[in-house]
């Protein structure tokens, strides 16, 4: 059995396209996929305007949202015959993704160049940047401009 492929899911279209790439890869290298969604705790603090009364509610909402993203991504992967598991984490997304990869002896991280919050004019989003900077496993980055038609036709 090979080490797993970590696929961070944030609900963006690009993260699902990265998942499709990971599904193909997982079949060829016979490795399971581990879907990861990280609830960005600092985001909860921002959207609740730092009000302690609302932080908990915001966190719960983000957690529910993340669970939904994971569920639909999991369904997509299962339908395409991939062996998949999922994990909901809390904290700084890049840090948690890298930590999760180390913890599971992952062989690859497959992700989009930009997430939901990424400004597409940046070269790579901040999460991808953080992962590239710290990952001790190869990181496959699916670009925004990725010619999806060509890949699915191939």
């Amino acid at each position: 059995m090979n080490g797993c492929i970590i696929v961070p899911i944030d609900g963006s279209d690009l993260s699902l396209r990265a998942l499709d790439t990971a599904i193909d890869l997982s079949k060829n290298v016979s490795a399971p996929i581990r879907l990861v969604h990280v609830v960005d705790v600092s985001k909860a603090a921002v959207i609740s305007y730092g009000d302690p009364e609302y932080v908990g509610g915001c966190l719960n909402a983000l957690r529910d949202e993340g669970a939904c993203f994971l569920q639909s991504a999991c369904k997509r992967a299962t339908e395409r015959g991939a062996w998949v598991s999922e994990e909901l984490l809390m904290g700084d997304p890049a840090e948690q993704i890298v930590r999760c990869a180390a913890q599971h002896d992952a062989e690859w991280i497959v992700m989009g160049s930009h997430g939901r919050s990424g400004l597409s004019h940046l070269l790579v989003g901040s999460v991808a940047e953080g992962v590239l900077r710290h990952s001790s496993v190869p990181v496959l980055i699916v670009p925004l401009k990725h010619d999806a038609a060509r890949t699915s036709a191939a």
Partner: protein, 151 residues
């Protein structure tokens, strides 16, 4: 999924590890490998006027690059992977992209930092430009990352 995988080499430790990752990927994907090594005349000569000395250095680097590519292609062949290679001259990121386009690759493997990269930067300038402009997935390998693949 990947039919042809490009890998960029420059003799750095990081690029060697990228080659290992590319070989492993090519094997599991039954893909071909396209090896490329780029000489940047600007890095060698800077703005100094043309001179025999500069020409000599460029020639030496060319020999070295050709050797790198040949070695990598042989290594691939020994692993039963179809491979071809090319040495190019020009701005590395541009040459890597043109090379990838010409060979119709569907993934590019490269190191985070090449020979000229400053380690303190999160990404070397070549990897940065390739990531920015590539239309296919780019696999970025940090120094030390290939070990994980062998484990």
């Amino acid at each position: 999924m990947f039919k042809k995988i490009a890998v960029a080499l420059d003799g750095s430790q990081c690029a060697d590890e990228a080659l290992d990752v590319a070989l492993k990927l090519a094997r599991s994907e039954s893909a071909e490998l396209a090896v490329c090594s780029v000489i940047d005349p600007l890095v060698i000569a800077g703005t100094t006027p043309p001179s025999p000395a500069v020409d000599q250095i460029i020639a030496a680097r060319e020999t070295e690059s050709r050797h790198l590519v040949e070695e990598a292609v042989e290594k691939a062949h020994r692993a039963g992977i179809e491979a071809e290679g090319e040495t190019r001259m020009g701005p590395p990121f541009d040459e890597i992209l043109q090379f990838s386009k010409r060979h119709g690759v569907d993934a590019i493997v490269m190191g985070t930092h090449g020979r000229t990269g400053l380690k303190r930067l999160f990404l070397g300038s070549v990897a940065e430009y390739v990531l920015r402009a590539a239309t296919c997935p780019v696999i970025v390998v940090r120094e030390g990352a290939a070990k994980a693949v062998h484990a």
